[in-house]
């Protein structure tokens, strides 16, 4: 069969505006307000008006009654887009919004796409309801009757990783410690008190092997991004466009018991596809935003995204490789573990951070000369995986 050179969206689409609401505890604000606040800031950052948006992609919100969040958002924000969808592949939704937004622009379905999400899991829901909103995402026939929170599915993957590769609770805890240190330099982060490995291990068991501080936060917050074609970004005179170089996704199962391997995930394939499209590999990345619903998730992802060999993620983290001066500074804002985790929009904060780093706007926590960054979003017990690779103009 002849090899077909596929026309890809590499470098065709630029991110020209980013915005974020206050995060953490933001009482009295609805998910739609949080999304709209972030969208307003993203538009101001791009220097364009809301009527220039012709496409809207959003995640859904647990604390919002709207089924079609993207459509409700447009009404709330006072716009009438000609391209819109509310995407739902759990935690992987963030990267899919960038991939699909870029594809829509590249194909001519839209010219200026707003990627937006907001939720108020901390103050918009009671703690029990917030937890229930997570459990109701599991199958009612074969999973939920046994009392399986989504945390439990991730816990069983980490547990098997410990058994197969000798990963330790201390190594898991180190992820939380490193990310807390990162959050201490991020203005507005929800948790900024330094923690130690011992404190993580003594923070109370949630579901083995995860202690409270191995688990992500529950937060309020929204984030928004303006995407447009590279040509339009130039015409607008955008100073520091960040380009989408590659995207990839992989969906391996729905039920945790049908996950092909508990310790190797669809992130291998989703990132392979993103790297192939971008023409760069893991060694080329200057930083990463790695979905971090739990500490062990990060260790497995550092392996599956190609930053270290399978089974060595624990030692990689212990050796300081996921922070400044290491191989791949990751979650430099603090991630879901320490910055904020407002449900599905939580992984939009990883995008906000990686883009701000690539623009060189991160002050004391700036990764020196960051040119290439990877963001990986995942969800539902590793059922859903999506990767996006971003780069500056120099990387095109």
């Amino acid at each position: 069969m002849p090899s077909i050179r596929k026309q890809t969206l590499r470098g065709k689409v630029a991110i020209i505006g980013i915005g974020m609401s206050s995060v953490g505890k933001v009482p009295g604000k609805s998910p739609l307000w949080l999304a709209a606040d972030a969208a307003g800031k993203a538009l101001a950052d791009a220097g364009i008006g809301k009527n220039e948006i012709d496409g809207v992609l959003s995640s859904h919100a647990f604390a919002s009654p709207f089924h079609r969040f993207s459509v409700a958002f447009s009404e709330y924000f006072g716009i009438q887009p000609t391209f819109s969808n509310t995407l739902q592949v759990s935690g992987a939704t963030a990267a899919t919004m960038f991939n699909i937004g870029a594809a829509a622009i590249h194909s001519g379905l839209a010219e200026v796409v707003l990627v937006v999400g907001g939720d108020s899991l901390l103050t918009g829901l009671t703690p029990d309801l917030a937890l229930r909103s997570m459990t109701e995402s599991r199958d009612q026939q074969y999973e939920m009757p046994f009392g399986i929170p989504v945390a439990n599915t991730f816990a069983m993957t980490a547990h098997r990783h410990m058994k197969d590769f000798g990963t330790t609770s201390e190594q898991l805890a180190e992820v939380a410690v490193v990310q807390r240190r990162h959050a201490m330099r991020t203005p507005g982060a929800q948790q900024t008190t330094p923690i130690t490995v011992d404190e993580v291990l003594n923070s109370g068991m949630v579901t083995t092997p995860y202690h409270k501080l191995d688990c992500s936060l529950i937060s309020d917050g929204g984030a928004a991004f303006i995407l447009t074609s590279a040509e339009h970004a130039k015409a607008l005179g955008i100073k520091n466009p960040i380009y989408i170089l590659g995207g990839g996704e992989c969906y391996t199962h729905e039920h945790i018991f049908l996950m092909p391997s508990l310790t190797t995930t669809g992130a291998v394939e989703s990132s392979r596809r993103a790297y192939d499209m971008a023409g760069y590999g893991p060694k080329d990345m200057d930083l990463a935003g790695v979905y971090d619903c739990f500490t062990g998730t990060v260790i497995m992802m550092l392996e599956d995204l190609g930053f270290c060999p399978k089974g060595e993620g624990g030692r990689f983290v212990e050796d300081g490789q996921m922070t400044y001066g290491g191989q791949i500074p990751s979650n430099t804002h603090g991630g879901l573990l320490s910055f904020a985790h407002s449900g599905i929009p939580g992984s939009l904060f990883h995008f906000h951070e990686v883009i701000a780093q690539l623009r060189g706007q991160c002050g004391p926590r700036q990764v020196p000369d960051a040119q290439l960054g990877l963001v990986h979003s995942l969800g539902a017990g590793f059922a859903t995986n999506a990767t996006t690779i971003l780069g500056t103009e120099n990387t095109l």
Binding site: Q141, P145, P149, N152, H159, T207, T208, I256
Partner: protein
């Protein structure tokens, strides 16, 4: 607070009827030989619809587990701590369940376990596992 209960549908009704009768039914594909859990109207491997329900031996081995200390909602608060298991059945398929008949902290990797059919009400019997 009531626990979530399976609502048998077109795909799963036979499975839950089987559980009520004390059998954990697996589907054996007449076309490709694939054995699958859970129940659906076609083989996940070949798409064939010649699926025979056969009772599993009930023997299995713990592939992974996690002991829940913080309940997923009020309905499970009285049960904590409890061990959630991923059990590899002798016939091949893996399934999720919980440990019964012992302390959750007794569960270890690769432990041999045996099916226990636990009647919840007239409609629903849940498959759980004890140490073999």
């Amino acid at each position: 607070m009531k626990k979530p209960m399976p609502a048998p549908d077109a795909d799963s009704a036979a499975f839950w009827r089987g559980m009520r009768d004390g059998a954990l039914l697996l589907q054996h594909c007449g076309d490709c030989g694939n054995v699958q859990y859970y129940q659906q109207a076609m083989c996940r491997q070949c798409g064939g619809e010649d699926l025979a329900h056969r009772a599993a031996s009930g023997r299995g081995r713990v592939h992974s587990f996690s002991v829940v200390h913080r309940a997923p909602g009020p309905a499970f608060k009285a049960d904590i701590p409890y061990a959630v298991l991923l059990v590899d059945l002798e016939e091949g398929p893996r399934m999720i369940s919980t440990y019964t008949g012992g302390k959750p902290e007794d569960v270890v990797f690769d432990m041999e376990v045996m099916l226990v059919c636990e009647k919840v009400n007239d409609e629903i019997t849940l498959p759980r596992f004890r140490k073999a």
